[in-house]
Structures are given as C-alpha cells and as structure tokens.
C-alpha cells in the first residue's frame, strides 16, 4: 500500500455502489466472476447449474451477435454484484459496440421513478424525439412536494383505491372485511404506525420521492409483518376509541390466524401499489410506455438499435409493468409495422422482487435469466478482490486512466509500488502479478469474511463496506493503535489470551496484540520458524515489530503444513477448531460462537443482555447461573464466616452471586468485570454446558476446568466479602437486629412476660410462639405495631432465621442437608449482648449499605419497631390510665386485693338478685369472669399503678407485655354495667314507688278488728245468758 495515495483515493475507490465509482477504478477493481448461472426459467435459488464466466456471457449474450430481440434478467440477492456485472457488461459493450448500436444505461443512483425518466431523456440519442419538452414537464409535474404531504398522499391513495375497489383485481376481499380494513387504515393510531420510519409508506415513498434516501434494494410494498397488530398497538387503538370495525380488523390481525390474514391483506393492498404510486408521482403508465415507444421509433428512423442496461428494475416502482411492457415488445412480427428499433435489454433485479413483483406472463417473456449466486467468489478471488481494491487505491488516478486507455488489459494491469506492507502477504492475480494485501493478512480476510459478514451479506458490496473500508481506514488513520478495538475477537483462544495477558502488562496493548494475533494471525499460541522467518500465531515477527507490538515468548512448535494450492470458498465455519471438536454438534458450536460474539462486544464496552429466555441471551444467562451454582457449591460458606441464614438470604434475593459488568438487567453481588479474563471464564462455563452437556467431557475441557477452578479460588474472597453484611460497626450484625426485633415481638405478643429481660433465655427465644387470644386490651398503636411485625414473615420463619444464624449444617450441601447443630454458646453470647444493650443496635447499623435487602431489612424492621416504641408505650400507658380512671371512683386503688374484688362481685350478685326479686327489669351480668380473675385483676391494678410514672419505653412495654389492661376488662366492664344498672334501678324503683301510692295506711294495720272482737265478746256473753 501507498498510504499517501490511498489516503486520498480511499473514498473514491471504496464505494459499495459500483455505479458511483469511476470507470477506471471500476475496471481496476473488477474481479472476474466465474460462477454465474444461466437459466431459461426463473428459479428463486437455482442449484446444480453449470458455472459460466462473465466473459462467456458477454460474448454470447450481451454482444448479441445474432442481433435479435433480447430481454435478459440479471438477478441475485442484494449485494451479490448484479449492478457491478451489468456495469461491467456496459463498460465492455461500450468498448466493442457496433456503430449502429445505441446504449442506454439507466443507473439507480437516482433511484426514483422520475430520476429514471430524467436519465432517459438526458441521453443524447433521444434529444431529437418528439414531445421531449412535454415529457420533461411531466417529470417536473410534482417536483417538490412536502415529504409528509407526499407520504400522506400515498397512504390515503391506498384507502381511496381500497374504497373504490370494484373487485376487478385478481385478489379480492369480501365487502365486510374490506370495510373493516378501510376503517382500520383510517384509524389514527394505525395511520401513525404505518407511516413510521420502518413502515411500508416510508418504503414506497423512498421509491418515488426525489429527495428520499432509502436502501437501494428496498422493495416498495406492504410486507406481511406491517399489518400484524401487537397487543400494545391494539391497546392504543382501544384507548383512542377506535371504530368498532377497525377494532374487529385489529383483533383478527393479532389472533392466531393473523399471519394468514396479514399475508392475504398484504397481497390485496399491494395490488394498488402501481396505481397509488402513479397517482402520487403524477405519471400514468401510458406515459412511460409512450416515452419508450417514441425513443425506439426515433432510433429506428435513425437506423439504430438499442441496447438497454437497467441496473435496477425496482427503480421503476409504479411503472415497472409499463417498463416491462415496453421492453418485451419485439421489433419483428406484428410489431414490425410500428417501426420500432431492435431492443436488447439487460435488467438487474433481486430474487424477491422477481418472485413477488413480476407477473408470470412477463417472466415467461424473459429471453435469458442470469443468476449470480451468493459466495460468488472463492477464497482466492476474495483475496484478489481485496488486493485489487488495495492496489487501486494506492495507484494515482492517472495511472488507472492510462491503463483504461490502453484497453484495460490484464497484462497491462498496473501494480502500485509497495510503501507499507512489504513484509506482508501478497495475492497473485492474472499474468503473475502480485498484489500486496497490507493491511490485511489472508487470515484476517478469512476471519472478517466469516465473522463480520452476516448470512446473505457475503457479497462484494458488504466486503467493501464491512471489511475493506474499516480496516484500511484504521490502518491509514490509526496505525499506532492498529488494529483498533472496533475489530472484535471472536472465539478467542483461551491459552493465547492467558499468555498475552501474562506477558503484556499494558491492558490496551495486550488487547491490541490479542486482536492482531487472533484476527490477523491464526489465533493459536504457536511459535514456529520456517528457517528464515519466525512466526508468532502465524504472523511473521517482523510484522509485529513493524506495528510495535510485543513479541510473545511462546512455546516453539512445528511449522504447519503448507497451505494447499487448491482453494475453496471460505468456509462459513471457523477453521481453527475444526480438527479438535469434530464430535461437537454444529448447533452447539454456533451457539458458542454467538455467545462469543456477544461477549467480545461486551469486553469492548457494549452492554450485555442476559434477560431473554432464548437465543444467545439465554446461553449467557445459563452460564451466569452455572457460575453462581459453581461458586455456591464450591465455597465453604460457613468456614468463610457466612452463616446458613446469611447464605440463605443471599440465595433468596433476586440478585445473583455473580453479575456481568454493564449487564442491562438484573443485579448481583459480585460484578464480573468486562475483560478478557472474565470472557474466558464465561466461555469456559458456556463450553461446559454446550460442548460437555454440563460436564468437562469435551476437547480441551481440562484447561477450562483449570480456568474455572483457579477463578473460583481467585474470586472467593471477593464473593464472600460481597455477600457479607456491610456495617461500619463490625460488631453489629444483622443477627443482633433480628434477635432484638424478635424479643420486641415476644414482649408485644406476650410470649415473654416479665418486668426485665433477665429471664429471657436462648431456649425461650427459639421456642414456639404460644397461642394468642384474639382480643387484647392493648392500645391501637401496640396492636398495629404487632401486626406490622408479624406481617413481614411468620413467627416460625423469624425463629428459623435466628436458629439458622447459629446453625452448623452437617454435609456438603448447606441448602439440603437435614442435620444441623446449634451453636448454643454463640447464641447465648449474642443474646446476652442484645439484652445488655437493651435491644438497641448502634444507629450506624441502620445506615448500612448492605447489598442483601433481607439483611438490611432486619435493621429496617428493628428501626421501625424502635421508632414506634415510645409512642406505643405512651399510648399503652395512657390507655391504662384511662382504665384506672374508670375504676378509681368505685374502688380504692391503693387498697385493692383479690378479696376486695370478690366482695364487689358478691355484692353485685346480691344486688342483681334483689333486682330480680323486686321485679325490676335489669338483666344480671355474669360475675364469673371477675370472680375467676380476681387475683389477676388485683395484680393488674397494682402493676399498672406501679408503672404509671415510668418513662423508659422498654420498661413500660414489658410491664404491659402480660396485657394487664385486658385483665382489667372484666372489672371495668362490671363497673360500667353496675353504674349503668344502678341508675336504671333508681329510675325503676322510683316508678314502682309512685305506683304504690300512699303506703302509710298499709304500714298501720293494727286494731283493725277491735269492734268485731268486742261484738263477739258481747255475743258470747249474751249466749251465756240464753242458757
């Protein structure tokens, strides 16, 4: 390469669209195509055809020695070189054309309908045709139309055509569905959706608008996926209050039958494409046909024949049928009288366009199909292709022009003087000429061809765009860092990576070397000598020195066998591992490769997505899980001071043990840095799963196993540290908070009832919670706090967590082993500490930035309790005071014992008995509760009275842990009832008293029979006298 010249010439030589390059550069970079297939009938993907060279086709067909009507279709996938071939035909034809031959080459650089017509009208041969001015005006009819306006015109023209469909087109739609489709397209949401950048309207627009910049191979039409309705789109329609008909259509287009429906609707709508485009472009199909006929007639009158090269038929979107009509019209037979010239047309198009846009009757009238397959070049031709480009850009324009003038023969093909890359590889072309491949090596070309070009893109256009241009640019502008980080290493050799990073401390330099040896070299940690030159990874040491790359100290190996002379098309599969892993399924290799590509991007700064459950993302996700599982099982957590509970908390979070740096979703404890070492580790895990089916049984697995185990040991401390609680006060552990919170809970529930913590033992701490009465006498704040505590997790879980903190699990797997031993001494010590601190942990603990939420939650829970404790205590105290206030008027609180309570109950019983006897309507309450709990009531009154002046919240809540207020309830209830009943009794007694009236007489009933008794006595005396 001559970088001085190349720097200037690069942009003009390296153009993916062959039509835009100069004639000289075009010919100088042209590599003869020898694998063209000739067909009489269209075949989407022909196989088994004989190869034919471009030269043979030129001689037999393009030169048209028999001077017959020809309609030749050149087709192939986008970028296969159709335009290049047509241009080469045109260039050669120009050199050899007969005198009476007029050549029309319609480029697609303009690539619009009007641009194409303009090209035609600008040809000198048609300057004299009739109505030329009229045609020119026609082209300017809708010269500049606002982009959005034009798009809207296209969109609404479809709706107009659809609305006015009279059923005359081949594909019909029942009326109901047609109306629904119309409503669907009229919907604003759908309008915006179809008008989007990737939508069909944009595609169609790019073919008719003069200022549009679209993909040259875009087929301007509706695609099936355009009409598939996603659930989001459907929701948007619903939200915007779409027409019911539109909703019905959308519903069908999101159902299971959506693909079939969409396919049918797409075909239906595409029928209107030509009409719509013509309407919007202001050109009638007849116009185009007329132009061609006029041209041909004009030429015929001048005794000329026409050879038409059309680079791309898709340029004629909207009038393509009219164009085809014009091209298929022969000059002989019934058309002879029309006075048309002979036409030989060579038309380029893509497979898909031919398949879907050209009707069968036109296909049948094609006189010859020329198919350019993918992978049209073999390996040597690719080297030559690249060599020619490198050579052309290193040659001055004058030299090229001189060569073209000299008929551009192979013998006179100029070769530049190598300024850079004399030690690099060369490719030999025709006539034994050697072209320097600098800044490429053959290995690098193979690598880029295999890895940088996607399937369907292994064509000249993409070789230029994705290989030549970026590499040359890098070499010209960034030689000191060549190859730069944009070239990613895929399938990096682990051993080579290790050796480089072990020997080169400079990270940037080591990665540059890694790139160069992996891409430009063979990627193996080999060093060999052919006697004169020493090669490092198949790269001469001199090249490394030239690029100021360090020379690795590698183990000497035997020189590889010479590369066979016979060349094949570069295999799509990487060749470096082909020998060693023949037993590994191809699919597995592909998956590993894909993962490798993603990881390569990752270590080069790209984010990594492992959230999906399929594809490469899933492979990486599985690798991450395998890494976590490996670390979980390989680290002796208890030995590292991570308790069973702690580890359980770590594994129960959504965070993974290991996460990748720059990971798009998910979080982890230990962040695996995006570097080559991490990539190697991840790849080892991927190979373990993909190649070994979760075993180390695959070629070179021993090294992967070594890598994994050494990595595990290396990161163990960091992992342990990452999962360990972070607190400024290291003495304070979340376990303290767990225990303190549990004690609070026990006090609040009454599981522990005592005036101080001295009686609380490890056993009582871990023992099961007792059944609590449904009703309690506690304040609302008390019960609310208790509910809050118990809401997070069950009591059993709380106990289990504490137990787990002090458990030693017997066995290998800490998660499944059933044998646990309690470290009771440790538990007792921790409990003593917590008790001594009066259930408090340092304030700094609450601010700890612990990575594990559940662990941080232990502090949060405790803080929640502590924050509420004072209020709870005060509320409880206040409630207790209220209760005592109720009792105080009825009982002397300073002199309460169970006898007093029993006396009260007895008196109350007697009172109610009297009430009943006196027939006063008051129901007697039961005295049983008061009598039975007389002792507790008396005790509660005394306990509460004792704590009334206390200010320490803990002491207060402990005093209330036995729920003395609830104990008072029978008494307060009785007193309340009594008070009420006494009032009631008074009222009823007064009423009865009134009913009795004056009772004084009743009370003086003595001597009431005195008179009678006197008479009796008198009578007795009288009787005596009668005797």
């Amino acid at each position: 390469m001559d970088s001085k010249i190349a720097r200037e010439r690069l942009s003009s030589v390296v153009r993916p669209d062959s039509i835009t390059t100069s004639q000289g550069d075009f010919l100088a970079t042209h590599v003869a195509i020898r694998k063209i297939h000739l067909l009489k009938r269209f075949d989407m993907a022909p196989t088994g055809c004989a190869d034919c060279s471009e030269a043979a086709i030129f001689q037999d067909l393009i030169l048209n020695p028999q001077n017959k009507h020809q309609f030749i279709m050149v087709y192939g996938h986008p970028g296969t070189g159709k335009s290049h071939l047509i241009r080469w035909f045109e260039a050669r034809f120009e050199q050899e054309l007969p005198d009476n031959e007029v050549v029309l080459f319609i480029k697609r650089s303009d690539n619009t309908l009007k641009g194409t017509i303009r090209q035609l009208l600008e040809k000198p041969e048609v300057q004299g045709i009739a109505d030329r001015d009229l045609y020119k005006r026609l082209c300017k009819a809708s010269a500049v139309v606002d982009e959005n306006k034009l798009k809207d015109m296209i969109y609404h023209n479809f709706i107009i055509e659809l609305h006015n469909d009279d059923g005359s087109l081949p594909i019909t739609l029942p009326n109901v569905r047609r109306k629904r489709l119309e409503a669907f397209l009229n919907n604003e949401v759908i309008h915006d959706y179809l008008m989007s950048e990737d939508g069909p309207i944009e595609r169609i627009y790019s073919k008719i608008a003069e200022n549009a910049t679209g993909d040259v191979d875009t087929v301007a039409q509706f695609k099936e996926e355009d009409l598939i309705v996603s659930s989001d789109l459907y929701d948007d329609m619903q939200r915007e209050g779409a027409d019911p008909k539109a909703i019905k259509m959308a519903h069908v287009l999101m159902s299971d039958t959506a693909p079939e429906e969409s396919a049918h609707l797409t075909q239906y709508l595409n029928q209107f494409l030509n009409t719509v485009v013509q309407n919007c472009a202001g050109i009638e199909p007849g116009d185009f046909r007329q132009i061609f006929q006029d041209i041909r007639r004009d030429l015929f009158q001048n005794g000329k024949n026409l050879t038409l090269f059309i680079e791309d038929i898709t340029s004629f979107t909207g009038v393509d049928e009219a164009l085809l009509d014009a091209l298929v019209v022969e000059h002989t037979g019934e058309n002879e009288e029309k006075g048309l010239c002979r036409i030989s047309s060579i038309v380029g198009t893509t497979n898909s366009y031919l398949q879907s846009h050209v009707r069968d009757n036109y296909k049948q009238r094609v006189t010859q199909y020329v198919y350019i397959p993918d992978n049209v070049f073999d390996e040597n031709e690719i080297f030559e292709f690249i060599g020619r480009y490198l050579n052309t850009m290193s040659l001055p324009t004058d030299t090229i022009s001189a060569w073209v003038k000299d008929h551009a023969t192979a013998e006179s093909y100029p070769v530049h003087t190598v300024v850079e890359g004399a030690n690099w590889e060369f490719v030999t072309i025709a006539c034994g000429k050697k072209l320097c491949l600098y800044p490429f090596t053959k290995n690098s070309i193979r690598y880029f061809y295999q890895n940088n070009l996607a399937a369907g893109h292994k064509t000249p256009r993409f070789i230029i765009r994705d290989i030549i241009e970026p590499v040359v640019n890098d070499a010209l502008n960034n030689i000191e860092n060549f190859p730069s980080a944009e070239f990613r290493v895929l399938n990096a050799n682990t051993a080579l990576t290790y050796k480089i990073h072990n020997q080169v401390s400079d990270q940037a330099l080591s990665e540059r070397l890694m790139r160069f040896l992996s891409i430009w070299g063979n990627g193996n940690p080999d060093k060999f000598s052919d006697g004169t030159v020493t090669y490092i990874s198949a790269i001469p040491m001199s090249i490394l020195q030239e690029l100021h790359l360090p020379v690795l100290d590698l183990q000497q190996s035997a020189a590889p066998a010479p590369i066979p002379a016979a060349q094949e098309v570069i295999n799509d599969q990487p060749s470096s591992t082909a020998d060693s892993d023949q037993n590994i399924p191809i699919k597995a290799k592909e998956r590993v490769d894909q993962a490798n590509q993603v990881l390569s991007s990752w270590i080069n700064g790209e984010p990594i997505d492992i959230s999906a459950t399929m594809g490469t993302s899933n492979i990486l996700k599985a690798a991450q899980k395998d890494m976590c599982d490996y670390l979980s099982s390989s680290i002796n957590w208890q030995e590292e001071g991570v308790s069973v509970d702690n580890f359980a908390r770590v594994t129960s979070t959504t965070k993974t043990l290991v996460m990748f740096e720059n990971q798009t979703k998910g979080r982890g404890f230990y962040v695996l840095p995006a570097d080559w070492e991490s990539m190697n580790i991840i790849m080892a895990f991927i190979r373990w799963r993909e190649y070994g089916s979760q075993s180390w049984d695959y070629p070179d697995a021993d090294f992967d196993a070594y890598l994994v185990s050494s990595w595990g040991a290396h990161v163990k401390d960091q992992i342990v540290q990452a999962v360990s609680p972070v607190a400024e006060d290291h003495e304070t552990c979340y376990v303290d908070a767990l225990i303190a919170a549990e004690i609070y809970r026990m006090v609040l529930t009454g599981d522990y009832v005592s005036s101080d913590l001295s009686h609380l033992t490890s056993k009582s701490l871990l023992s099961a919670s007792r059944e609590h009465p449904l009703a309690s006498g506690h304040s609302l704040r008390w019960t609310s706090l208790l509910r809050r505590i118990e809401r997070s997790e069950s009591v059993e879980q709380k106990k289990k967590f504490i137990r787990r903190c002090f458990s030693i699990v017997q066995g290998m797997d800490t998660r499944t082993s059933g044998v646990t031993i309690l470290r009771s001494q440790d538990l007792a010590q921790t409990l003593s500490k917590v008790k001594a601190q009066k259930l408090k942990v340092p304030a700094t603990s609450f601010e700890s930035n612990d990575a594990i939420k559940s662990r941080k939650d232990a502090f949060v829970d405790l803080r929640n309790i502590e924050e509420r404790m004072n209020d709870v205590a005060q509320d409880e105290l206040s409630l207790a005071k209220d209760k005592l206030t109720l009792i105080a008027p009825h009982l002397d609180l300073e002199d309460v014992d169970d006898d007093v309570i029993l006396d009260l109950a007895e008196n109350a019983s007697t009172f109610y008995q009297e009430i009943e006897k006196t027939q006063i309507n008051i129901k007697a309450p039961s005295m049983d509760r008061v009598k039975k709990s007389a002792k507790q009531i008396a005790q509660a009154i005394n306990d509460i009275s004792d704590i009334l002046d206390e200010t320490d919240p803990l002491k207060i809540i402990m005093a209330f842990s036995g729920d003395p207020i609830a104990a008072l309830l029978p008494l307060t209830s009785l007193l309340g009832t009594l008070e009420h009943d006494l009032k009631n009794a008074v009222s009823q007694m007064e009423t009865q008293q009134r009913k009795l009236g004056d009772v004084t007489i009743l009370e003086n009933s003595e001597n009431r029979y005195n008179a009678q008794l006197s008479w009796i006595d008198h009578d007795l005396a009288s009787l005596d006298k009668l005797r």
């Binding site: 008027p889 009825h890 009982l891 002397d892 002199d895 309460v896 007093v900 006396d903 009260l904 008196n907 109350a908 007697t910 009172f911 009297e914 009430i915 006897k917 006196t918 027939q919 006063i920 007193l975 009594l978 006494l982 009794a985 007694m989 009865q992 008293q993 009795l996 009236g997 009772v999 007489i1001 009743l1002 009370e1003 009933s1005 003595e1006 009431r1008 029979y1009 008179a1011 009678q1012 008794l1013 008479w1015 009796i1016 008198h1018 009578d1019 007795l1020 009288s1022 009787l1023 006298k1025 009668l1026 005797r1027």
Partner: protein, 220 residues
C-alpha cells in the same frame, strides 16, 4: 377503705328489700279489705241474730237449744279468723258456712215457736174481725209479719205489741164460753141458728151486732 361501690350496692340492696315489702303489702291490702268486709259483715250478722235470739228468748220464750253451742263455736271461730292480725279468708269462709247452717235451724225453730205463740190470738182475732175489722186486721198483719225469722228487732217488738193489744181487745169483749164457741163456729163457717142461744143472742144485742151477722144456708 374500698367501700365505694360495695357500699353503694349495700345501700341499694336495702332499698330494694324495703320496696319489695311495700309492694307485697300493697298487693295484699285490697284483698284483705274484701276479706275484712266479709268478716265484718259476718260478725254483724251473727251479732244481730244473737240480739234477736236474746229478745225472742226474753219476750217470746223462744229457745234455740243446741244451737247455742253452735253459736258459741261460731263466735270462737270468728275470733280465730283475725287471730293473725288480718282476717283470714279461709276461716272467714268457713265461719260464713257455719252461720248459714245455724241461721237455717233457728229459722225453722222460730217458725214452730211462732205458730204456737200466735195461734189462739190470731184465731180469736179472726172471729171477731168483723167487730172492728180495721183494727183487728192491723193486729193480724203485725203478728203475721214476724212469722218468719226477722232480720230486725222492730218486727219482734211489733209482734210483741200486737199480741199484747190483741189480748186486751179480746178480754174487753167479755166473751164467755158459749159466745166464744159460737164465734169460733162463725169463724169456721159451721155456726147455725141452732147455736144462737140466748146467751149468744144477748151478747149480740148487747154489743149491737145484729146487723153484722149474716145468715146463709149451710151446704151439706
């Protein structure tokens, strides 16, 4: 001292008891009144009867014999009725029955005694009725009113008076035996001219009774 509610309850218990007593008293008094009324009426009836018995005994020599004991028992029973301070219904009812039985016996005894007591007088008054019909008839009525055991002492007094007046009248007529026989036969419708002897005729003329005696044929 813990006496607040307890004391209050004690107080109410006492009040309730007092109220209940009064209520019971009130409920019993109405009934007692009724019993008292019965009792008093009975005692009064017994007392009246004994008073009449005493009068009849003293003025007509009426004697009740065995019924004196029964009356004695009745009076004793009446005393027992109120022995509790309040007349007892059962005892009062029992005494009422006793009284009715005694009263019936006494009535029957009186009727017999009355017939004996008034027979001669009433017969004589019947014979001489035509002599002074208005006066004699009033005597007859007054005597006959006491034919059944009276309820009032006045009837007995009237009887006593009528009997005394009738005797005086009869005695004032100087009736000898022959006149008396003739008058009795006249009264019984059996007198004939044969009975008109001189004494009789003399007595008729002396008392100017010619126009007052009618003749008629005797039926066989």
């Amino acid at each position: 001292m813990n006496t607040m509610m307890i004391e209050k309850l004690d107080d109410y218990i006492t009040k309730l008891k007092k109220l209940r007593q009064l209520k019971e008293l009130k409920q019993n008094s109405t009934r007692q009144e009724q019993i008292d009324q019965q009792y008093r009426a009975l005692v009064l009836s017994v007392h009246s009867m004994i008073h009449l018995l005493t009068y009849s005994h003293n003025n007509f020599h009426f004697s009740v014999g065995e019924q004196l004991n029964a009356l004695n028992d009745l009076l004793a029973k009446l005393k027992r009725c109120v022995a509790t301070g309040f007349a007892e219904q059962d005892l009062v009812t029992e005494a009422q029955g006793d009284f009715k039985r005694i009263q019936a016996v006494i009535k029957r005894g009186w009727e017999k005694h009355y017939a004996l007591l008034t027979k001669s007088t009433l017969s004589t008054l019947q014979v001489i009725n035509k002599l002074d019909s208005a006066l004699i008839s009033s005597y007859q009525t007054r005597i006959q009113t006491a034919g059944t055991w009276p309820t009032e002492e006045a009837i007995f007094i009237d009887l006593n008076d009528a009997l005394s007046s009738s005797e005086k009248l009869i005695q004032g007529l100087n009736l000898d035996e022959t006149v008396s026989v003739f008058l009795r036969k006249m009264a019984s419708g059996r007198a004939t001219i044969l009975d008109l002897n001189s004494d009789v005729l003399c007595w008729i003329h002396s008392n100017t009774l010619e126009g007052k005696i009618k003749l008629s044929f005797a039926s066989k």
